[in-house]
């Protein structure tokens, strides 16, 4: 077990290095990516551009540039090409908003996903199942950007139909927990809708598969109550695949992946920072947030594998 985890951590480091390499490569090859040209402005002389290139180290070989960038990121010295702010500090500042959004939304989507999936499977083919299925498909189909804007437009701020909710922004939990909750309600819901629909559908089909398993018939033949069979035998087996989905989706949101939700609701988190940096084609922050997100993905992949081995004793970690 210990050796397994150490081996996995080495693998994770390799993945992160590869990700940084690919991000850098993409940035170099896309058109209009040359930061020196952009910093020098519209009427720059070639000498001007060359001087900026030299200052940023962009005149060196690809490998050296990449190495310098990654090194300065890991020593927390990396700064934005655009405004000179420290990338690591900026990401740190975004953490409270991003984590608040991710954890709240994660609880909502997992809870409601399990609830609607179970109800829908238990009443399969009946009215409640059809209603849930219709709503789930609508939820899955709605683009987050559209849903976020519509909700904000109609339910929040001035000019909307009603202003039940604050018009975007983030209030720190430490300064005012009630306002923190109030400001996050719409973003949580916006982000969770898609996942609720999706998890509900997946769980519904898992449950319907599991119900036909021989061991469920055995549980019935033992004389267990319907409720106990559902919770202890059916749901337990059906939730195992959901754990994988949740691990990776949650990691992605924690790592700043909710770019659209954070931007629409003006939550200054890691995703919002990424969105800003994309707008200015600012490589250092993009490298920072991409590696930050990738780190959560690889860590949660390991956690999911460990959880899997716990949930299903047939699985051996080797």
């Amino acid at each position: 077990m210990g050796a397994y985890i150490i081996r996995r951590i080495f693998g994770m480091l390799l993945v992160l290095l590869a990700v940084s390499f690919i991000v850098y490569l993409i940035f170099i090859v896309i058109p209009g990516g040359d930061p020196a040209q952009r910093i020098a402005g519209k009427v720059a002389t070639p000498q001007n551009v060359a001087a900026i290139k030299h200052r940023l180290g962009l005149d060196q070989s690809f490998i050296v540039q990449w190495y310098d960038l990654v090194k300065s990121l890991f020593t927390a010295k990396l700064v934005s090409y655009y405004d000179g702010t420290n990338v690591v500090n900026q990401i740190k500042q975004g953490l409270p908003a991003t984590f608040s959004l991710a954890i709240g939304a994660g609880i909502i989507w997992m809870g409601f996903g399990i609830l609607v999936g179970t109800i829908s499977a238990v009443t399969a083919g009946r009215f409640s199942d059809r209603v849930i299925t219709a709503f789930a498909l609508i939820g899955i189909s709605m683009p987050v950007a559209w849903l976020g804007l519509i909700l904000r437009y109609f339910l929040a701020g001035e000019g909307g139909a009603v202003s039940w909710f604050p018009d975007g922004g983030y209030v720190a939990f430490t300064s005012n927990p009630a306002q923190w909750f109030y400001h996050l309600l719409l973003p949580w819901f916006t982000l969770a809708v898609l996942f609720i629909g999706f998890y509900g559908r997946v769980l519904r089909s898992n449950i319907l598969d599991t119900i036909n398993e021989d061991f469920v018939r055995t549980a019935k033949a033992k004389g267990l109550s319907t409720r106990r069979i559902l919770v202890k035998h059916v749901l337990r087996a059906s939730l195992i695949p959901i754990v994988t989905l949740f691990g990776l989706d949650f990691a992605s949101v924690l790592g700043g992946g909710a770019i659209i939700t954070e931007s629409v609701y003006n939550l200054h988190g890691v995703g919002w920072y990424a969105w800003q940096s994309i707008g200015t084609q600012d490589l250092p922050p993009l490298m920072g947030v991409t590696l930050f997100g990738a780190m959560f993905i690889v860590v949660f992949t390991l956690l999911v594998d460990l959880a899997y081995a716990y949930l299903d004793p047939r699985i051996r970690l080797t």
Partner: protein, 342 residues
């Protein structure tokens, strides 16, 4: 006379499907007394498993319809509520299934699953239930039950899993044990051990057994009475002696002919019954076995009743053929096509 535990009267089970109504069981009757073993034999789709599941109330559902009676100690189990049925399952009627590889929940320990069965019917604490579980595992022949009780199903072999299933089915000391093809998924040597185990435990637990199989050879040793089913109906019924030594139904001959036997001359090939079982949605008119029967004649287009046609009382069959004709010709099927003169 021993206590009568089960009395099934003209049980019919039908399922509504998209293609029409499936008459899975179309009239079966039998009685079962304490200490006896009833064998139900037939090929896939003959209704034997549906019969067993119906006794346990496991076929209940919106698409299922039932007729007849299933009297357990005088109570009609078909009329008992779903909730009350939970009290019978496991407690009064225990069941073991065909495939021990999939019949145990892979994520719980063997012991937990048996303890769960005990605790669902009796108010006992975990410690007591656990020590009873260990004792049960010992009785079904699991070595080192004190440690194996904490194993997961995948750490057991197929034969051991079936033993664990038997321990679970017997954990609340049911009066009737229903074994639905318990040996089909196992090696031949293990099959014999499981049959022997069921037979021994039946006496230890003072219960009765319904043993379902497609292989007459499996129940040759233990069955007291045998019912042969075909297309949802009983086509022959009698004591083990009747069915093995004086079989009256050409379908039974086919089943007997498909078992390799050491006490008879070896045929070139084992017998196979040509064709497929009939559709249970639109069964053939008259005798359901007619399309596959080598001896079918004009009269077979009329439905034969399940009647006593031989000297032995209680030996029933559904065949229009003349008894003497059958006694002269059945060996061709039972012993294979070309028999060397013994």
């Amino acid at each position: 006379m021993a206590e009568r535990l089960l009395e099934v009267n003209d049980l019919k089970v039908r399922f509504a499907t998209e293609d029409g109504i499936v008459r899975a069981v179309d009239g079966i009757s039998f009685e079962l007394e304490r200490g006896k073993v009833l064998g139900i034999v037939g090929e896939s789709g003959s209704g034997k498993s549906v019969t067993a599941m119906t006794l346990m109330g496991l076929t209940r559902g919106v698409n299922a319809g039932f007729e007849g009676e299933v009297l357990y100690k005088g109570t009609d189990l078909l009329k008992v509520s779903d909730r009350a049925m939970q009290g019978y399952r496991g407690n009064e009627l225990g069941m073991i299934f065909q495939d021990p590889m999939t019949s145990l929940n892979p994520v719980y320990r063997i012991g937990e699953q048996i303890v769960e069965a005990i605790q669902s019917h009796e108010r006992v604490d975990k410690r007591t239930a656990r020590s009873r579980t260990i004792e049960l595992l010992r009785q079904v022949g699991i070595p080192n039950p004190e440690t194996r009780v904490d194993d997961f199903p995948h750490q057991f072999s197929g034969g051991m899993r079936q033993r664990a299933m038997i321990a679970m089915a017997l954990s609340c000391n049911p009066s009737v044990l229903i074994a639905d093809e318990p040996t089909t998924a196992l090696d031949v040597t293990i099959q014999a051990q499981i049959v022997e185990l069921v037979s021994r435990l039946k006496d230890d637990f003072d219960s009765a057994v319904i043993f379902i199989t497609h292989d007459l050879g499996v129940i040759a040793d233990i069955a007291d009475e045998i019912i042969v089913m075909y297309a949802g109906r009983v086509v022959e019924r009698g004591t083990k002696r009747d069915v093995f030594y004086d079989p009256q139904m050409p379908y039974t001959w086919g089943l007997l002919g498909s078992i390799p036997r050491l006490d008879r001359p070896r045929p070139e090939r084992l017998h196979t019954i040509e064709g497929m079982p009939p559709s249970l949605i639109n069964p053939p008119e008259g005798c359901k076995f007619r399309p596959r029967c080598p001896h079918a004649f004009e009269k077979c287009k009329q439905e034969p009743g399940l009647e006593n046609r031989v000297e032995t009382p209680g030996h029933l069959d559904r065949c229009w053929l003349d008894v003497e004709f059958k006694r002269d010709h059945r060996d061709e099927t039972i012993s294979g096509g070309s028999v060397e003169a013994a």
